[in-house]
């Protein structure tokens, strides 16, 4: 893979995320794949923010080990994000001397430094903004076609009015001129957008939150209730107008206790339902999810993880809600836990979650995270997938209807309010087959076994995970770490070493037989995850035998795990 990584940083008002978004959109139109991560601080407005971009000639699913270019509009709060922008001797740093000296934290990494008077140039343009001048400098360096970038700016900023669009064009042109004057592209490094082979395949640009939202709609979710929380709110805001356009409803609930129970009510009414939240909200939902399991009411929760525990680091990523998703319910409550393996995979993972919830009449938790959710990618259009089995609905019963009747596969036909003669009471109290509350040992044993059986014996098909590569060394991971793990394995293979990648989309019930098959012949395994306490490793260990030589690369957030970290660990052991 050929790729180029650049970071735009500035204080919150500087507009670096806007500039980054324009760059991403323009690069997409040249045929480049791309990914843009956002890093922002705790302030609502005016804090530091960074747009972290990577362009590549193939689908790109993770950050690189270091950045080729850092352009700083200013250095405010640089200590807060410097860890997230690794630099080296090959890196080029463009900075505005008007914003102060290059901080030691940056200079000590040994990059080449070049002063660019962004603020001065911006001031020379009517309503000129620094971020647009910066965009012009970069456009010059990357030799980005002027009319292409201009049309992206016109399209994207149209809602701000003619004057703003004209000022942006002027500032970008001034930035290009500045780049030419300083010959920023002749500094020794060849910074170019990686060329991609021409393709007929449709390209999309979307965030992981949007991908999960689309998966919900493809899965025919038509009711959503939720309470706002970072970093899940954008998923809900994306869905709100679109679910309505499809005839559905999104309701803002008073809290997460309400939202999880509201979606249960809608689902009881026969409508596929979903909520989205993050760790603190998921914690509040646990009692409700246990009710969904016991009453066999299909529901989906998309949990966009952030740093925890407690309020934690709301704006940054971590994979640390695995334990609560797996074990958070009291009693024995078999349910399903899934995770998207990339930004675009949010579509499949969420659509599959709806399908599994509906067809198995249970609760499904989808573990996305801030890294996937708030990053935007240019990717190939996610394939259409259709799942045949839907909710098994009881039409009419000859004899008295039994809601929780024991069946071979554990799934009992569910009556929907409105069907005459089929009334029953859904219950979180243990019950007999008819749904009548029961404390009898036999009913409890039967219903526990039924709820376990329907999940244990379901056919999860090919979507349980992804396996690629070969050789006796393997990496096993899940969710957002998959991109970095895949790239690490590819790099190893490019350098003549064989390795396998096993990435789990289905976390619970653990497809242990499939994983064991994927591990056959593996002598050395590296478990990769973004958590301090190695939650994923401990979970795997509790469920199956792992190779004798199993190592762990488990590190807390918020700095994403980079491919180089993984390949270094793999090589260190070989």
């Amino acid at each position: 893979m050929r790729s180029l990584s650049l970071a735009l940083v500035g204080s919150g008002g500087a507009g670096v995320v806007t500039a980054g978004g324009l760059l991403l959109a323009a690069a997409a139109r040249t045929g480049s794949y791309a990914m843009m991560r956002r890093s922002s601080g705790p302030q609502i407005r005016g804090g530091e923010s960074a747009a972290l971009l990577r362009f590549a000639d193939q689908a790109v699913e993770c950050a690189d080990d270091s950045f080729d270019l850092l352009l700083a509009c200013d250095w405010r709060n640089v200590d807060r994000f410097v860890d997230e922008i690794p630099l080296g001797a090959h890196s080029l740093v463009l900075y505005d001397p008007a914003a102060g000296e290059v901080p030691a934290l940056i200079a000590d990494c040994g990059p080449r430094l070049l002063a660019v008077p962004l603020a001065d140039v911006a001031a020379s343009v009517h309503h000129g903004r620094i971020n647009m001048v910066a965009l012009g400098v970069i456009a010059h360096m990357l030799q980005l076609d002027a009319s292409l970038l201009a049309s992206v700016i016109t399209d994207t900023l149209a809602h701000k009015g003619h004057a703003a669009v004209a000022a942006s064009h002027a500032a970008v042109a001034a930035g290009r001129e500045l780049g030419r004057r300083l010959a920023v592209d002749a500094t020794g490094s060849e910074l170019r957008l990686p060329a991609t082979a021409a393709t007929d395949a449709a390209r999309w640009t979307m965030t992981g939150n949007e991908a999960c939202g689309l998966g919900a709609l493809r899965g025919e979710v038509r009711f959503v209730a939720a309470y706002p929380i970072t970093p899940a709110s954008e998923l809900l805001e994306w869905l709100a107008p679109r679910i309505e356009a499809l005839g559905g409803t999104l309701l803002q609930a008073e809290d997460e206790l309400a939202s999880v129970n509201m979606i249960m009510g809608a689902s009881f009414g026969g409508v596929a339902s979903l909520t989205a939240t993050s760790g603190p909200g998921l914690a509040l939902m646990m009692e409700g999810l246990g009710l969904a399991v016991a009453s066999e009411t299909p529901v989906v929760v998309v949990n966009v993880m952030r740093g925890g525990p407690s309020t934690g680091i709301p704006t940054k990523s971590e994979q640390t809600d695995l334990n609560i998703a797996l074990y958070g319910m009291h009693g024995e409550a078999p349910h399903i836990v899934l995770a998207p393996l990339s930004i675009g995979d949010g579509v499949l993972a969420t659509q599959w979650a709806v399908h599994l919830a509906e067809s198995l009449q249970t609760a499904v938790i989808v573990l996305s995270d801030q890294l996937l959710g708030q990053s935007r990618a240019v990717l190939d259009r996610p394939a259409d997938v259709s799942f045949m089995r839907r909710r098994r609905v009881a039409g009419s019963a000859a004899a008295a209807y039994q809601r929780y009747v024991l069946t071979a596969d554990g799934v009992s036909p569910m009556a929907i309010p409105g069907s005459s003669g089929m009334a029953y009471t859904a219950d979180g109290l243990e019950h007999d087959q008819a749904g009548i509350p029961s404390t009898r040992a036999r009913d409890h044993a039967e219903q526990l076994a039924k709820r376990e059986r329907k999940l244990a014996e379901a056919d999860y098909g090919p979507h349980w995970g992804e396996v690629s590569g070969d050789g006796s060394t393997a990496v096993i991971t899940w969710g957002s770490c998959t991109g970095a793990a895949r790239e690490a394995v590819q790099r190893l293979r490019a350098s003549g070493n064989r390795a396998r990648l096993i990435a789990l989309r289905l976390l619970s019930p653990l497809p242990a037989a499939r994983v064991a098959e994927a591990l056959s012949g593996v002598e050395r395994l590296l478990v990769v995850e973004q958590s301090h306490s190695a939650q994923f490793y401990r979970y795997l260990r509790s469920q199956m035998d792992l190779p004798a030589r199993t190592d762990i690369l488990a590190r807390a957030g918020p700095v994403p795990i980079a491919p180089g970290e993984i390949s270094a660990r793999l090589q260190a052991g070989s």
Binding site: A25, A28, R29, A202, R203, W204, T205, M206, E210, L214, L217, F223, A225, R242, E244, A245, L246, G247, G248, T249, L251, A253, E254, L257, A258, S259, N261, M262, I263, M264, G265, A266, S267, F268, G269, G270, V271, S273, E287, G288, L291, S295, V378, A415, P417, G418, S419, S420, G421, M422, A423, Y424, T425, A426, D427, G428, L429, G435, I436, P437
Partner: protein, 279 residues
């Protein structure tokens, strides 16, 4: 009663075969009977009615009916009902439960359900005690009630005024009755169901096991006896409710405010949504 009504469902047709777990003499029996009478009076098809509850003695009621029931977790019945009504506006959605379920653990949802004003009828069977957990104080218990081992000196807290709160929070139909007045309860529930908005029916429903003194309620309850009730004037309703001593019954407040309805509109379909992602 009309010919047609005679051929349709009768009150007993709305009852299930399941024998309630309630103690003999429990006020909740009266509410169950009244509810089935109201449904018969309105001739509602049982399958078009959903009865949602939480946890408590009162909340056991769905299984004792032949309606589509949902017996959820403690305090969240209004949420389940809200989701159901939003997704299935065609159904008649009823919620029932106790004072602990509705005003303590579920208190926040009570306020928001009133404010949202969906077309839902909420019946609270208030016995000023937690029956199911064997006799602790609830939000409506008097401050000097010392019979609970959990609060041996009484709660010392002013008791909650549910009907006044409902008016303040935006419910558009507020009534109080007593489970011993089964016909009045039935009439009020029927009117509440017909009211197009959030209807709160506060029913005093004695717990003879943990509050035997509530046997006296049947002698103490009176009509409001005011010809200015029901009113659409919230200030008047509040004034009456805060001064009546809590044992007067009847319809207090009815106000027409558009009920919350889903804004569902059909647009261009999924293909148009997907088109937005194209580069």
């Amino acid at each position: 009663m009309s010919e047609q009504a005679l051929s349709g469902p009768r009150a007993k047709d709305y009852k299930s075969e399941i024998k309630p777990i309630w103690c003999p003499g429990c006020g909740h029996f009266g509410v169950l009977t009244a509810l089935t009478k109201a449904l018969a009076a309105l001739q509602l098809a049982p399958e078009q009615v959903a009865l949602i509850s939480g946890i408590g003695c009162a909340s056991r009621i769905p299984a004792y009916t032949d309606l589509f029931g949902f017996h959820g977790v403690h305090g969240r019945a209004l949420c389940v009902a809200t989701g159901l009504k939003a997704a299935r506006p065609d159904l008649c959605v009823l919620v029932a439960g106790g004072d602990g379920d509705g005003f303590s653990i579920g208190g926040n949802h009570f306020l928001h359900a009133c404010r949202r004003n969906m077309d839902i009828t909420y019946i609270v069977m208030d016995n000023e005690v937690y029956g199911m957990t064997k006799g602790q104080a609830s939000p409506t218990t008097a401050p000097d009630w010392v019979a609970s081992k959990l609060t041996p000196g009484g709660t010392g807290l002013r008791s909650f005024q549910p009907a006044a709160l409902a008016v303040a929070a935006g419910a558009t139909f507020v009534a109080r009755s007593f489970s011993g007045r089964s016909n009045e309860v039935a009439q009020i529930i029927a009117r509440a169901i017909q009211h197009p908005g959030f209807s709160f029916v506060h029913v005093l429903s004695p717990c003879l096991t943990y509050r035997p003194e509530q046997k006296e309620w049947k002698h103490a309850v009176t009509d409001f006896g005011r010809d200015d009730l029901p009113t659409a004037n919230a200030a008047l309703a509040m004034q009456v409710l805060l001064n009546d001593g809590g044992l007067s019954t009847g319809l207090i407040y009815e106000f027409e405010r558009p009920a919350w309805r889903p804004r569902a509109q059909t647009g261009a379909g999924l293909a148009a949504v997907e088109e937005e992602f194209a580069v």
